[in-house]
């Protein structure tokens, strides 16, 4: 088990290095950052000076190595746009994204599993079919359109919910949270629905298929033959077996929520790292883009690791190598 973890961690570091290299090499093509940093009246001399200062004129490998060296110490350099340390900006903006991802992840997970089970158990029911079709609508419309329609209905027409921003946030020393204020929670609702809806649909369909498979297994028939109540057949016996494969894919699914946040944050002006990344691309703010990518890959690799661990925890069959080989 331990060896397995070490091997996975080593592979993860490898992944990070590759991500860094790929990300860094791509930035050269995305545009010229220098132009944005200098005002209308700059001269060619200014451009040269700044390029030289930013080290953009040095060979690519040197730039990359210097970037890695600094990144290791948590110093991702200064944002060309804001002139502030990238690490500081990321830490400031991360709570917003994580809280949004957490709430929409919760919505997607519990909503997805609950609806998945319901549509599996009441497979022939009219309600199940309606839910299935409605859920497809969630997957059939682009996220940004869903977001704007929600704003149109709930903010402009009904005026119940705020259309942008994160509302009042309380600073808990380094971590700003929107959970403790009424406006913070209200501001979370629409973006969480927009971001979570798509994932919820995928998880629901996954749970439904998996549950239908499990419900046909012999041990379920045997449980029913033993007169076990339908409720505990579904939830104690079937659900546990359904969740094992679901965990892996859901783990990755939730990972992509953070990536999907880019669009939701742009539509709702949600001050998270997704919006920061979009601004960075428009402004060709390379340090922020590089730091964002590294952070995302660390998160992804971390999630992959956790999901694998979860696998061991849930499925006893995999734990056989740990117990001293039962006779």
């Amino acid at each position: 088990m331990l060896a397995y973890i070490i091997r996975r961690v080593f592979q993860s570091v490898l992944v990070l290095l590759i991500v860094g290299l790929v990300a860094f090499s791509m930035f050269a093509f995305v545009g010229d950052p220098v132009d944005n940093m200098l005002g209308q009246e700059r001269t060619q001399a200014d451009i040269e000076r700044l390029r030289q200062q930013l080290g953009l004129d040095r060979p690519f490998i040197v730039q990359y190595w210097r970037f890695l060296e600094q990144a290791a110490q948590g110093n991702f350099g200064l944002s060309y746009r804001q002139g502030r340390p990238v690490a500081e900006i990321l830490m400031e903006r991360l709570p917003a994204t994580l809280e949004l991802a957490f709430v929409s992840g919760l919505l997607a997970l519990f909503g997805g599993i609950a609806l998945g089970i319901f549509t599996a158990i009441r497979r022939r029911g009219a309600a199940a079919n309606v839910i299935m079709t409605l859920s497809l609508i969630g997957v059939s419309l682009p996220t940004f359109l869903i977001g704007i329609l929600l704003i149109y209905v709930f903010s402009v027409e009904l005026g119940w919910l705020p259309s942008f921003g994160r509302g009042e946030v309380t600073d808990l020393g380094g971590w700003t949270t929107g959970f403790l204020t009424a406006s913070g929670l209200k501001a979370l609702i629409l973006p969480a629905i927009t971001l979570g809806l798509y994932q919820m649909t995928l998880i629901m369909r996954l749970v439904r298929t998996e549950m239908l498979e499990v419900l046909r297994m012999d041990y379920i028939r045997f449980a029913r033959a033993r007169g076990i109540r339908e409720k505990s057949v579904n939830f104690r016996h079937a659900l546990k077996n359904t969740l094992v494969p679901v965990i892996t894919i859901t783990g990755l699914q939730l990972g992509s929520i953070i990536a999907f946040a880019i669009i939701t944050e742009t539509v709702f002006q949600w001050p998270g790292v997704g919006l920061l990344f979009i601004n960075a691309i428009q402004f060709v703010d390379i340090p922020v883009m590089a730091a964002y990518l590294m952070m995302i890959s660390v998160m992804f690799v971390g999630i992959n690791l956790i999901v694998d661990m979860l696998y061991f925890a849930i499925d006893p069959r995999l734990r056989v190598d740990r117990t001293a080989g039962g006779h």
């Binding site: 045997f222 029913r224 007169g227």
Partner: protein
């Protein structure tokens, strides 16, 4: 055998509506099983053996459903019960043993959990009492060191051991009737014998009525008190095992016996029944066995095959084989030439 039978099935008919027409996997089947008695139900696969068992315990997969006939459990009608009423009987009054031990136990719950859960469902005992009974059940089915094996997971048992756990589970709520659906098919021969011996012992000690469904005549000969032979959803022959095996009245039973290498039969050439059992979708007119029967007469091809009691009470055949001794296999020789 005057006591009321634990299980009595009267003219049970099960139908499945499909796009090719309505199929009848179980067609007017009647039989009784008394306490402490093992009724073997044998026949080729698809003959409706398992379907009968599922109908009795009420686990028919839709769209299959009971159309007519009665199922009485110790005199109490069961076929009319639905939902919770039926559920409460399962496990408590009738248990079921499945074929493949690998897939019959929930892989993620310990053996102990699955046992105590069933016990607590039906008997109002305290959890600690339930655990004690679970251990007792495991010991009764011959699991060594049951006390410390109760908390292990199904995958930590061998195939044979797992089938013993399945049996323990089926009996832990002390049912009167047990339907064993091909309990030995998935096991290798040596383990089969142990499981059969276990079933016989439990049936005798506990006075449980057992319906043993199998396609293996050897298991029937070994374990069953009485045997029912099924063909294409109908009961071909029913009677005490000694008589049916040695002196089959129905040509199909005779053919079956001729094609089974029983140790007791000594050395003789095996004979094969020509053709194959018809699919329920296109049954031949008249007796379903007519196309393969070497004693077929015109009547067999026209009239629907008789039920047991309409003919000699032993075989559903217009021309049951008389029990003359000379009716030995040599007689069939020339038919073969």
């Amino acid at each position: 055998m005057t006591a009321t039978p634990v299980l009595s099935v009267r003219n049970l008919v099960v139908e499945i509506p499909t796009r090719h027409g309505v199929l009848r996997p179980v067609d007017a089947v009647s039989y009784d099983i008394h306490a402490g008695e093992i009724l073997g139900v044998v026949g080729e696969s698809g003959a409706g053996k398992s379907m009968t068992g599922n109908a009795v315990i009420g686990l028919l997969d839709p769209p299959a459903r009971i159309v007519s006939g009665q199922i009485l459990l110790s005199g109490q009608p069961v076929h009319t019960l639905r939902g919770d009423a039926l559920r409460r009987l399962r496990g408590k009054r009738m248990g079921m043993i499945f074929q493949d031990p690998l897939t019959s136990l929930n892989p993620l719950l310990t053996v102990g959990d699955q046992l105590t859960e069933t016990i607590l469902e039906h008997l109002d005992v305290s959890p600690s009492e339930a655990r004690k009974r679970a251990i007792a059940a495991l010991e009764e089915v011959g699991i060594p060191a049951a006390r410390d094996r109760i908390d292990s997971y199904p995958h930590e048992f061998s195939g044979g051991m797992r089938q013993r756990v399945v049996i323990a589970l089926a009996l832990c709520a002390e049912p009167d009737l047990v339907i064993a659906d091909e309990p030995t098919t998935a096991l290798d021969v040596s383990v089969q014998a142990q499981i059969i011996a276990l079933l016989k012992r439990l049936c005798r000690d506990r006075g449980v009525a057992v319906m043993l469904v199998t396609h293996d005549m050897g298991v029937i000969a070994e374990a069953a008190d009485r045997v029912a032979v099924m063909y294409a959803g109908r009961l071909a022959e029913l009677g005490p095992v000694r008589e049916v095996l040695t002196d089959a009245h129905h040509p199909y039973t005779a053919g079956l016996m001729a094609s089974t290498p029983l140790a007791s039969q000594g050395h003789r050439r095996l004979r094969q029944i020509p053709g194959a059992m018809p699919r329920l979708g296109n049954l031949p007119p008249g007796c379903a066995f007519s196309p393969r029967c070497d004693h077929v007469q015109d009547r067999c091809r026209h009239d629907p095959s008789p039920t047991l009691d309409t003919c000699d009470g032993r075989a559903a055949c217009w021309f049951p084989l008389r029990s003359q001794k000379d009716n030995t296999p040599e007689h069939d020789q020339e038919a073969e030439a």
